[in-house]
Each structure stands twice: as structure tokens, then as C-alpha cells.
Symmetry: C2
Subunit: 159 residues, 2 copies
Amino acid sequence: MKTLLIAATALGLTALSTPAAAQTDQSPTEAANARIVADFYDMAFNRHQPTQAARLYIGDRYIQHNPAVPNGAAAFYGYFEGFFKDHPQSRATIHRVIADGDLVALHVHSQETPDDPGRAIVDIFRLENGKIVEHFDVIQAVPRTTANGNTMFDGDKAD
Amino acid sequence: MKTLLIAATALGLTALSTPAAAQTDQSPTEAANARIVADFYDMAFNRHQPTQAARLYIGDRYIQHNPAVPNGAAAFYGYFEGFFKDHPQSRATIHRVIADGDLVALHVHSQETPDDPGRAIVDIFRLENGKIVEHFDVIQAVPRTTANGNTMFDGDKAD
């Protein structure tokens, strides 16, 4: 919880202190990794400074598993510098930060505009010595309606 | 690592001891939750016993965030009992188990047949008192080729 509140403060978010994410038992390294990844993500995807974020937080190598993107930090920030020029309202809301060992998973709602149903994303980052060195993700379009009355993100809302 | 090896033994998998998943620092509760979720997943999606898995591992309530599925365990096992009759070769390979507090995330490759490129999935489960009570997921089709030469799952394979 401590780390989530720190991240929430850093990100200016209100969605992190949900019941679903209220319990954590992170080691000091896991808490540090969670903070690094949350700061990286906020700088890149909300402050729209992907090049600066990469310089601060990505290691000398960056192994990419998003199937559309080449390896290396330059491919990441090169793409998103252009993307944010075309999508200045783009936002990423982090709903969950799940840190275990050298991995940090983020459960994210990405939107190009405030009205965009957007995409559900889980990003998994691997860290070495405080730097992000590897990235996996899974991305799905968010539908406008659901069969259960819940969103894809909000926790503990149904009975 | 200990938990991953236990899970690997339980699941009969060889893909879990990758460099990307080699480090963990789970509390006893996190390790127990990881084991519960891995056992549930293997019983449901590899041994094709979703009803039995739900009875053993899902709590009195089950809050569903997959947008296509109603709340409750019955909607889950009712669908998959039929699915596995139609897809007897269906398999789910767990590549990463990420446990933090009351949450366990699985990074999974789901295939309907051995030749199926399949789907990349991250399932996030929340547990209360050793029972699964809430589920989120993100699902994406796996392409046959990638821009980086890596799969969506295998860790630490590039440069």
C-alpha cells in the first residue's frame, strides 16, 4: 500500500487506492522497482516525455517483446515522440502495480482522448540494478458494454 | 524462484525457469497465493476440469472483469466445460507468475491446438483467505512474425 500511495502521489492519480490493490508486501527492491516503473510510465505516457523517460530509466539494452516494435530504447521513444504530437490528449491511468522480484506489472487504461473507450494493457517490465531492461505487453480494446456491469479495471464493485 | 519451481513441478512445465522470471521475493502469503492460482489454472485450462477447479479454488463470490463473461464461478466453468469439449487440445502455458500482496498475475500463452499461434493473456486474480474472488484479464492475438525477433513470451533472448 505504501508504494501504491507513493506512486499515486507521484502520478497525481486517484485510482490506485482501490480495494483490489490495497494490500502489498513488497521487499525494498520490489518497492524501488515499482516506483521506478511508475515514474517512467508517468513521464513517458502522461507528461509525454518518452525520450527523457528512456534516458532516465531504461538500461543500456532494452529487450522488446511487443511484436510491432524493434529492440532498443530508441524504437520506443522515436515512435511515441511522434504519437504524442498527433495525440496530445493521450493519457495512461495505472490501476494496479504488481511487483515481484525483478518484474513489475502495470494494469493500465490507455486513452487517446477523454471520450475514447481506450485500450486495456498489462505491461510487464524486468529490471536490473534499478534500470528497465526488458518489456512485454498484452493489449486489448475496451468495449463500451460488458456482460457483468463491471469495468475492465475497477476492483471489488460486484457481489 | 522457489515458487516458480514448485509451480513448474505442479504444472509439468519447463518454460517457467527463464531468466526473466528467475528472481522473486515473495512473502509466505504471496507464495501460497501464487501456488493456489497456478494449481487452479492448470486444473482448469490444462487438465480441462474447470468445474472442479472452481469448486476447489474460487470463493463464494467471483467478481468478473472479462467484459464478455457474467459475474460468478458458474459462468466461468459453464462456458469452459463446453469449450474444452470442442477444443480437446487446448493448452495454457504459464510463462510468468507475478505475486504481490493479494494479487497474482499470470503471463500466459493460450493455444487451441499445438499449431495455433494462439493468444497472449495476462490474467490478474485477487485472493481473500486463500480463495480466488476477483478476475481481470487482457487478451491479444499472437502474430506469426515480430519486429524484434523475440516472441511475446520468452525472456532475455535479444542482444
